[in-house]
């Protein structure tokens, strides 16, 4: 018995050494080709260039504007019922999103709330890209009947009553607002629309300018919300300096699928893991909602938007608006095409897709593996038939894109 007892630990030790040897022989860092290594590093935050200027918003990088915008972002007085702020759906402690399939303001929307980190780098905003700047995006929900539900004159009154000093420090004198209706604007509410139409053009123009400036201040704040470092970034950094990195074998296998067989990196590329473009990936229609044409409708909306880059409220010159000037405005590819979301933090914010119609990351990966036909238009996907193990590995990798618990701003980026 004593002999047997002595032998067992030796076998276990031998097996341990063997396993360690195999692990070292297949050291993750050593198994990447130069091409794969370059691709991996291109996804890292270290590859993120400095935040580009926004020529359409001259206060984009003014700290006073950002402070005003921060206050406005959290102010529920900017809503018809006094209960809805930007932060009601864009929760700072939840990556500036709300964890529900469809955003809820004064009513329920038809879309999933998008996170904010890094959005200042996106040429088009919303799932359908119907806005072309952060400041113009911020104006949309303010006038939506199911989000903030208010109107332009209401918001001008709020600024005059509560933010006059800080507003005027950034934008100059506020126009007179006392004569303006409490609610007036080009919104769904017919009374507000009538009141807006009855206003003198000069007043409408002045209110539009205040409205645009509210968006520009909020945008200045949102530009400060940047993605936080992740375990993946640490791994990519270690690869760059010749180290083996900190990811598990499963996570590395998932990364290999991400840049290889899975073809995820085609669209989820760059340090924010998005190409900022619009794709039909055959995402099923959301039950109970009207038909959603995605980019096909969004492209028309942004082109006609008076608050776009080429509009009179933009501070940009025509040469600054190339994304808008040269965007694709029609064609079958736009039908049910939706914006590629960043995958930073995505594993921590189900549900998924533009209407939150896929509940879990496992189901998302299964969708991309099977590549079902699109409910309208044509899906760009082809089946990749990932095995159960491969799907698990891919999910393990995606979790490495969550902000590190100890990183600054990790709760909300």
């Amino acid at each position: 018995m004593r002999t047997a007892a002595a032998i067992i630990p030796s076998i276990l030790l031998g097996a341990g050494l063997l396993a360690a040897g195999l692990h070292a022989a297949s050291a993750p860092g050593a198994r990447w080709t130069e091409e794969e290594r370059a691709t991996i590093q291109s996804l890292s935050l270290e590859a993120l260039p400095p935040l580009p200027e926004d020529p359409s918003n001259k206060v984009a990088d003014d700290p006073r504007a950002a402070e005003l915008g921060r206050a406005l972002f959290f102010d529920t007085r900017l809503s018809v019922n006094g209960e809805v702020a930007c932060a009601s759906c864009h929760l700072p402690e939840r990556q500036f999103q709300d964890d529900v399939p469809l955003a809820r303001g004064v009513g329920t929307t038809a879309r999933r709330t998008m996170p904010i980190a890094g959005m200042a780098r996106s040429p088009f905003l919303f799932w359908d890209g119907r806005k072309d700047s952060l400041w113009s995006q911020a104006l949309g929900p303010l006038e939506s009947a199911v989000e903030h539900g208010g109107s332009r004159t209401q918001y001008a009154h709020v600024v005059a009553a509560h933010y006059r000093t800080s507003y005027e420090a950034v934008f100059g004198p506020l126009p007179k607002v006392n004569q303006l209706p409490v609610q007036a604007g080009p919104v769904d509410d017919p009374e507000s629309t009538r009141a807006w139409a009855a206003m003198p053009e000069i007043d409408r123009e002045a209110v539009n300018q205040v409205f645009a400036n509210i968006g520009k201040a909020i945008a200045a704040y949102e530009r400060t919300i940047q993605p936080a470092p992740t375990r993946f970034d640490a791994y990519a950094s270690a690869l760059g300096s010749g180290g083996a990195g900190n990811l598990t074998d499963d996570e590395i296998a998932g990364l290999r699928l991400f840049v290889g067989k899975g073809q995820c990196v085609n669209c989820h590329n760059g340090p924010l893991l998005t190409d900022n473009h619009f794709h039909n990936t055959g995402v099923p229609a959301a039950a109970g909602l009207p038909e959603d044409q995605g980019r096909a409708f969004g492209a028309k909306l942004v082109r006609e938007d008076p608050f776009n880059c080429l509009g009179k409220y933009s501070d940009a010159g025509e040469g600054d608006c190339s994304e808008l000037r040269f965007m694709v405005t029609d064609g079958h590819e736009l039908l049910r095409a939706f914006k590629t979301p960043s995958l930073r933090g995505a594993a921590g914010r189900p549900p998924y897709m533009h209407a939150g119609q896929i509940a879990t990351l496992a189901e998302v990966v299964a969708h991309y593996s099977a590549a079902p036909e699109a409910p309208a238009g044509h899906s760009e996907l082809r089946p990749i038939n990932l095995s159960e193990m491969e799907r698990r590995q891919l999910i393990a990798f995606l979790a490495t894109l969550n902000p590190k618990p100890d990183s600054a701003g990790s709760k909300g980026f």
Partner: protein, 148 residues
């Protein structure tokens, strides 16, 4: 951010990437590039009416960034074609999608050279750029292959 750091690097970088794909089987994108792809950036048009060339304006091409190219149109004997109308199309043949933007010739630069604005590549891989050239000798087309 993936860049090709100079015009010279673009020309040589493209060949190098394709070669790398052939020998190292890098990523899925690289594997989807066909063998023996014609990567010439200067070639006769399909019916031989013109010779066309394209070149990026910027020193580097960054995936996801807007940038400009120059197209040069000449007769087969090398004379500049100064009054061509050029339509631009393209996409990724293996992905089944077109260009992410709608590039246009915005002005003539003289000597048969034309400025193409609004170019963007939103991912790496094999792209085609199709020019529909309508000049004094009539319409013709040419397709260039690019591998980023």
């Amino acid at each position: 951010m993936l860049t090709l750091t100079s015009r010279r690097m673009l020309l040589f970088g493209i060949s190098a990437l394709v070669l790398a794909a052939g020998i190292a089987a890098a990523g899925a994108m690289m594997r989807s590039v066909p063998d023996n792809l014609d990567l010439a950036l200067e070639k006769p048009t399909a019916a031989g009416l013109y010779k066309a060339a394209i070149a990026p304006e910027a020193a580097s091409i960054v995936v996801g960034s807007m940038h400009a190219w120059t197209a040069t149109v000449r007769t087969p004997s090398g004379s500049p074609v100064k009054a061509a109308r050029i339509g631009i199309n393209g996409g990724m043949p293996r992905h089944g999608h077109g260009l992410p933007t709608s590039p246009q010739v915005t002005r003539s630069l003289g000597d048969g050279r034309y400025l193409i604005e609004g170019m963007k590549f939103n991912m790496r891989g094999w792209w085609t750029l199709d020019l529909a050239i309508d000049g004094p000798k009539g319409p013709d087309t040419v397709t260039f292959n690019l591998v980023l």
